[in-house]
């Protein structure tokens, strides 16, 4: 086989891979919209206020692990206390914070030591103390102070102390919509096969928060954040809904997910040895149900229920994305025996191969593509007409897909109502494939390298605190501490 033949094959593989990606993403987008419409027609005009009053509603424990969150912790716990749900228990787990997270909690919520004992036996680091409030109005709040063991360990400790059939695991820096729990609980009530439910996570940066509630949704002025807004909308609106439709969802964002406690405990709780604990848990829960031959569903609510702060700078973004890549690889490797096993249904036959090809290998393929492009051009073996046309097609398709995402956003939530938002988004859409995407590929490559080197740590996430609403239309920014 000579060099030109090798090049021909390489080009062929590249073309077919591109076409495959285009078809798969378009298919997912169509499926998502079909599922969204079905969801909307099933949930039209639902008055959740009656449900929030009923003791019939299943009891839910909200578990929020906190590590060095003193900047936002009080606002976050207030947001949790404002949740509309009658049968609620809020468990905040202070995971050995080095700042004054615990002190702030004790002071703000008038906490005292409690004799409460754990009901579960999941492995977790030593508990230093369990606190409840002296105030009757705050009786649903439990604060667990424990030694540092990481997010998964803190969640396991919280699960041990929960006394509910359903457990909602959230990131404490998230702001939940007041009716989010009602919406998330509905699939569990409608079907006892439901084992886990996830919801849309949206970007909070620069939006205005008052007393734990989002007062105004705004687009961030930070360009990196804007890229992530587009990315989040695309992933949640045109991706996960489709996976939920075919019951193939293997990732519920760690920011907000509700789980059946019995299944969660039966499969051993969160894995403390991975940084991709959210994905790993869903895969293990699904495996457990398949192994026990029990019917189950992992559902997804296509509504913005949870708002989170995303990295505002490249350094934090790099840490986050390389960690996500490590988490994905760890989960795929740990459960490699799921691949193409008919026993594991959609998960084994479709979800796992998709994640392998599009989440793990795609950045590597793109990277090798760029390297070979450079090499071929150095050696003068490149057909520039073809190459530029192909690159042009990839770019135009990326813009098209983002436009499709924005159309979906516009016709469903219409969150960004400012007149100029559309032009800002347009700029983001046009720049994303050439500015943001290469960066994401680079961070994914770093994640692969870190994985090979055996890195296990999370890396710190910088918090800026929330913007609070001021009187009238004036906006006052609370400076971060």
């Amino acid at each position: 086989m000579n060099l030109s033949e090798i090049l021909e094959i390489y080009n062929g593989v590249f073309i077919f891979y591109t076409l495959f990606v285009v078809i798969v993403y378009l298919g997912l987008a169509i499926l998502s919209r079909v599922a969204y419409r079905a969801f909307k027609s099933g949930n039209i005009y639902t008055d959740y206020s009656y449900i929030s009053k009923s003791e019939y509603a299943p009891r839910v424990s909200v578990i929020a692990p906190a590590f060095n969150e003193s900047v936002t912790i009080i606002e976050n716990v207030k947001s949790l206390m404002a949740l509309k749900y009658s049968h609620l228990e809020i468990i905040v787990v202070n995971d050995g914070s080095k700042d004054d997270t615990m002190g702030k909690l004790i002071q703000a919520f008038d906490l005292k030591l409690s004799e409460q004992k754990p009901l579960g036996k999941l492995e977790a680091k030593r508990i230093k103390g369990v606190y409840t409030s002296k105030k009757f109005s705050l009786r649903k709040l439990i604060v667990i102070d424990k030694e540092n063991g990481g997010k998964s360990d803190a969640l396991n400790a919280g699960i041990n102390y929960s006394r509910s059939g359903l457990v909602a695991c959230i990131d404490v820096d998230c702001i939940l919509q007041p009716d989010s729990l009602l919406k998330m609980v509905k699939p569990f009530v409608l079907s006892n096969k439901t084992i886990a439910v996830g919801g849309v996570v949206r970007v909070l940066n620069d939006s205005i928060v008052d007393s734990g509630n989002i007062v105004k949704v705004r687009q961030s002025r930070n360009f990196w954040v804007r890229f992530q807004i587009l990315e989040y909308v695309r992933a949640f609106l045109l991706g996960r809904m489709a996976w939920s439709k075919i019951n193939g969802l293997i990732l519920i964002s760690g920011a907000f997910g509700v789980f059946r406690r019995d299944v969660l405990i039966a499969c051993g709780g969160y894995d403390t040895n991975t940084v991709g604990e959210d994905m790993e848990l869903i895969v293990r829960m699904r495996r457990y149900m398949h192994d026990k031959k029990l019917p189950y569903k992992v559902k997804y609510i296509p509504e913005p229920l949870c708002w989170t702060e995303v990295p505002p700078d490249l350094n934090t973004l790099k840490k986050q994305r390389s960690r996500w890549t490590r988490g994905t690889i760890e989960t795929l490797l740990k459960h490699k025996d799921v691949f193409f096993k008919r026993k594991y249904g959609i998960m084994g036959m479709i979800s796992f191969p998709f994640w392998l090809l599009f989440e793990w290998l795609a950045p590597l393929l793109e990277f090798t593509g760029i390297i070979s492009l450079i090499l071929l051009s150095i050696f003068g073996l490149i057909d520039w007409d073809h190459t530029l046309l192909m690159l042009g097609f990839v770019y135009v398709f990326a813009v098209f897909f983002s436009a499709l995402t924005l159309l979906a956003e516009e016709t469903s939530y219409f969150n960004y109502t400012n007149r100029n938002d559309i032009f800002r988004i347009l700029a983001v859409v046009l720049l994303e494939p050439i500015v943001f995407h290469p960066l994401i590929v680079y961070y994914a490559i770093l994640g692969n390298i870190e994985m090979i080197r055996g890195k296990k740590s999370w890396g710190e996430m910088k918090r800026t605190g929330f913007n609070s609403a001021a009187v009238g239309s004036q906006i006052e920014l609370i400076p971060s501490e």
Partner: protein, 288 residues
């Protein structure tokens, strides 16, 4: 390789680029239309709401009613149904005003002829229109709508069924009369909604749940047992004893709890004839 044909790729780029431009254009159009419509709706809604409040609160009503009639008579304004907007304002007011103002609001609703519009929407409208019509008709106690809404109690569409049940609960003197003919399973979701609704009702409207303990639907029996416990009602001893031995674990458990409650209620009432009941009646429950 045919697929590498430059013309083909160039055509694909052109088509995709055109599609992207079309998408952006439609986003722009949708945004503008939405904004215009929502602005229009807000303005008109505010105007209608102002006039409604005027009628309800001020002594000079005739002029406001005339103006309302004139506005509602227009039917459509920039593709926005004025009657639908007025209906929405009635819903908003019905949600907020006290019971004292409700008859006046109802009178105004009838006076403006909105009941025919909403009954028609309840009969022939799209799903959302039906649901809105149900809410306004039931909140304003338009009894003539009862037969129309009643036909949806057994509808296969769960949302429609649940909202019809809610509306009938508001309209009817016996809020749970539909349970008599309940042929389909009462879902936990529906049960939660019914319970939430019952909690808003005055005590005299809460029915005796024991009347449905012989129901053929196990889910209805379970719901009634739970309500007996919640409202601390005393059910028939024999019936509860029979249910406490039911094959359904959940029904048996709830019946046992209801039996215990019954025992407590009976013993706490010295005039109660049932005080004479032999202790053996409760023996199988192993009550501590």
């Amino acid at each position: 390789m045919a697929i590498l044909n430059p013309t083909l790729i160039a055509v694909s780029i052109g088509i995709t680029a055109l599609a992207s431009i079309a998408l952006f254009a439609s986003i722009f159009v949708i945004r503008c239309t939405k904004k215009r419509r929502s602005h229009m709706k807000k303005r008109m809604g505010r105007h209608i709401s102002y006039l409604l409040i005027q009628v309800l609160t001020s002594d000079e009503k005739t002029n406001s009613i005339k103006r309302l009639k004139r506005i509602i008579g227009k039917k459509e304004n920039m593709h926005v149904s004025v009657r639908a907007l007025a209906t929405q304002e009635f819903i908003n007011l019905a949600r907020t005003v006290s019971n004292d103002h409700l008859p006046a609001l109802q009178g105004l609703f009838l006076n403006l002829g909105l009941q025919h519009f909403n009954i028609l929407r309840a009969e022939k409208g799209r799903l959302k229109q039906k649901l809105k019509a149900f809410e306004v008709l039931s909140k304003l106690r338009i009894i003539t709508a009862l037969p129309v809404i009643k036909q949806y109690v057994l509808d296969p569409n769960k949302t429609l069924r649940a909202e019809a049940i809610m509306s009938l609960m508001r309209l009817s003197y016996n809020p749970l009369f539909f349970l008599d003919n309940q042929k389909v399973t009462l879902s936990v979701w529906e049960a939660m909604k019914i319970h939430g609704m019952l909690k808003e009702m005055p005590d005299e409207k809460i029915p005796q749940f024991s009347q449905w303990l012989n129901h053929r639907q196990k889910t209805v029996v379970l719901f009634c047992l739970r309500m007996i416990l919640h409202y601390q009602q005393k059910a028939d001893l024999q019936l509860l004893t029979r249910l406490s031995k039911s094959k359904s674990v959940r029904v048996a458990e709830e019946a046992q709890k209801a039996l215990i409650l019954r025992k407590i209620l009976v013993y706490s009432d010295p005039d109660e004839e049932d005080n004479q009941i032999d202790q053996n009646d409760y023996q199988h429950l192993n009550v501590a």
